[in-house]
Each structure stands twice: as C-alpha cells, then as structure tokens.
C-alpha cells in the first residue's frame, strides 16, 4: 500500500493540488478516502503517465480525458484479449 506522501515523493514536481484534482476527476482511483488514500503500483504509474502526457507532451487537461478514455478502452481490449488467449490455451491443453 502506498500513501499519498510516498506517491508524491516518488513522482517529482507533482503539486498536491494537481493530484487531488486528478482524483476528483476520477482519472486516478486510489482505494480509501480523502485523507487516507491507498495507492497501488498501477496508480503510481498512471499518475506518472498523466504527468508525462501533460507536461512533456503538452496534452492539456481539457484534452486529457479523451486520451485517457481511449487509452482505458485500449487496455480493456488488450486485457480481454489476453484472458481470451489464456482461456483458449487452457482449453487446448
């Protein structure tokens, strides 16, 4: 489990307000509630990705929800495809 302090320490140059806004936008979905969030490794990686898209690639926060929506659907499909393949292999073996 990763607390908000540890997350901020691992993601340099990320203001707390930005992270809080991303959480309230539902772009980042930690467990727990405000004041006692618990992040997983995937959340840290996602926060780093959002920061990189915004700051390095200059995809502003108006455009970001569209990018994240498409990205989430892409990974959904890839995850399903992977499950499907495993299912198929399990059936065959």
């Amino acid at each position: 489990m990763i607390t908000i302090e540890v997350l901020l320490a691992r993601v340099p140059d990320l203001p707390l307000q930005d992270l809080e806004r991303w959480i309230s936008n539902d772009w980042v979905r930690p467990d727990g509630r405000a004041g006692d969030y618990a992040f997983g490794e995937i959340d840290v990686a996602r926060v780093q990705l959002i920061q990189e898209l915004r700051d390095r690639l200059e995809i502003n926060e108006t455009a970001l929800p569209v990018v994240l929506l498409l990205l989430d659907q892409l990974y959904d499909l890839r995850r399903r495809l992977r499950n499907l393949r495993e299912q198929a292999e399990a059936t065959n073996s």
Partner: protein
C-alpha cells in the same frame, strides 16, 4: 546513440522551440504507453527522449556541438511503465465504465473458441518474465560520496537494502543493484533497484568536478610569518605549510587531496583559499600598528580608483 539531430529530424541550426516541437510530435506518436505491445515504438521513444534530453539543454547542446561530450548520456533511470500494469488484473481499476464492469464470462469464450486456436503455440503467460526495475532516491553525506560509504535504505515495502556508494560518486549518479527490484514471473530474473544518489552539501567543502575547494582561515601571524598549520581534507587532517607573507584570498593547492582516483580518472586537487582572521581586539597589536611605519606603503584600493 545516433546523431540526436537526425533522431529528431531537425537541422543543426534548429531553434530550441523547433527541437521541442519535433520532440513532442515524435514522443506523442511513439510513447510506449500509447503503443502497448509495440517494442519498436518503445525503442524509438527512448531514442527521441535521449536526443531531446541532450538538445533541450542549451549548455549540453553547445558542448555536444563542440564535440566535448558524446551523444550517449548518463544512464537514465527508466520510469515504470503504465502498460505493464494496465493489461494485468490491476488494470480492472481503470476499466472503461468505472471499475469491474465485466459483462462477459470467460466460460463463454471457452465454449465459443474452444477449438478455434491450434495448440503448440508458445504460451506467452508461462514464459519467464524479468521483474520490474524499481527506482529510489538516496541522500548521502558529502564525505561519504567522496570516499565511498555503505548506506542502508529502507524501501516502501519494508525491505532494507545496503547501498554501497563507490568513492567519487557524483550528485545525480544512479546506482544499479542487480536483482533487488521486483521479483520476476514464472522463474524470470528479478529486476534491478536503481538508486539515484543526492549528495548533501558540506559545511566547508565544495566539489568542482574532480577538485574540491574550501576556505582556510589563518591568523595574522600565520599569514605574515608563515608556518605549518593543520588543515582538514576530505581524507583527513594534513599539515600544510603557509608561505610567509600570504594574503587573504591566495590559494594553496594540495595535490591529490580532492576527489580520489576512480575508473582511471586521476585524483583531483584540494584548493584552499586563505582567509586572514584578525580575531578579537588585541592591545599589543593595536599599539604596534599605531607605531608602525610600513617599509613599502601600499594602497590596496588602487585598482578601484577612477583613472583619468
């Protein structure tokens, strides 16, 4: 690394803005998290990022243009990648529609596709996979970084690592501890721990490349008469001979007393800038100076006077 200008597709005379624009365009296209499963995109992305890191810093770019540094920079701490998590079960968290919207049953697939796929294909999920590299930062004392030290690092998961900091470690250097990252899957090797070292400042030593600088306070009589004094160095106290008639600001060089020799780089020097300290009021000194007629009177502010 190849020519960073070629990698970004910009002419050598490109402005910083052109470089930024070219990087952004290529990075958007090849970002690995936007191209999961495409190893080539990742390679290209690494190349353009390294090229941009070099060229976006005007000082490093100028040094590269003059041929002072090669294109391959220091080892970059690679960041953990979203795609590694998003495709696994953890990715359910960000499933489109919010959380575990499944709406499908794996058994259905088994029925439908039960015989659709031929056997004998390699099973990707069973292949050994190397664990992820993990990134940490560690602040170390100035002298520990110069002389080498072993420092204990407590990880967020409660494990502790002993990080061996080699002598002459510079601020920002990345240590790689093999096999101390995340465990591998299916018998794959563990990832590495990458530790970025930050060197805390020292009260009186500062590092300049291989050399170390400090200010060495001396008394009036040591300045005028000269003589041996004890001076601290990064490797311990040494006796230093102050030449008679030394002035504030004159610099002594202690050869080989800077950053120690490492990987074929010879040891640096320690530069001690003298600073004369008058000390508390002293009647004898005062009386002496009142009656003192200098042999060669000097005006130390002569060079500051306006010239006609």
């Amino acid at each position: 690394m190849d020519d960073p200008y070629k990698t970004l597709g910009v002419p050598k005379a490109a402005s910083q803005d052109d470089i930024r624009r070219a990087y952004r365009k290529l990075a958007k296209k090849h970002h690995p998290d936007l191209n999961p499963g495409n190893a080539k995109a990742e390679e290209v992305f690494k190349g353009v990022t390294a090229a941009n890191d070099l060229l976006s810093d005007p000082e490093r770019r100028a040094r590269f243009d003059r041929g002072e540094i090669a294109a391959s920079g220091q080892e970059q701490a690679p960041r953990s990648s979203y795609r590694d998590y998003a495709e696994g079960e953890a990715g359910q968290r960000y499933s489109h529609g919010g959380g575990g919207a499944q709406g499908w049953d794996t058994d259905d697939f088994a029925d439908i596709f039960g015989s659709a796929f031929g056997g004998g294909r390699g099973r990707a999920s069973d292949r050994p996979r190397r664990g992820q590299d993990e990134h940490y930062a560690l602040t170390t004392q100035f002298l520990g970084a110069i002389n080498g030290a072993t420092q204990r690092l407590t990880l967020p998961d409660g494990r502790t690592l002993n990080a061996k900091i080699p002598p002459a470690t510079a601020d920002g250097q990345v240590l790689r501890l093999r096999g101390q990252g995340s465990p591998g899957w299916n018998g794959g090797a563990a990832g590495d721990a990458l530790i970025e070292i930050h060197v805390a400042p020292h009260p009186f030593f500062t590092r300049h490349g291989q050399d170390v600088r400090m200010e060495l306070p001396i008394t009036v009589s040591e300045a005028v008469l000269g003589g041996p004094v004890e001076a601290p160095t990064p490797s311990g106290v040494v006796k230093v001979r102050i030449p008679p008639g030394s002035d504030s600001g004159s610099e002594l060089r202690l050869r080989g007393r800077g950053v120690p020799e490492h990987n074929g780089t010879p040891a640096g020097d320690l530069y001690a800038a003298l600073r004369v300290v008058i000390g508390p009021p002293d009647d004898a000194l005062k009386t002496f100076l009142e009656g003192w007629k200098p042999e060669h009177p000097v005006n130390p502010r002569q060079s500051m006077e306006p010239r006609p």
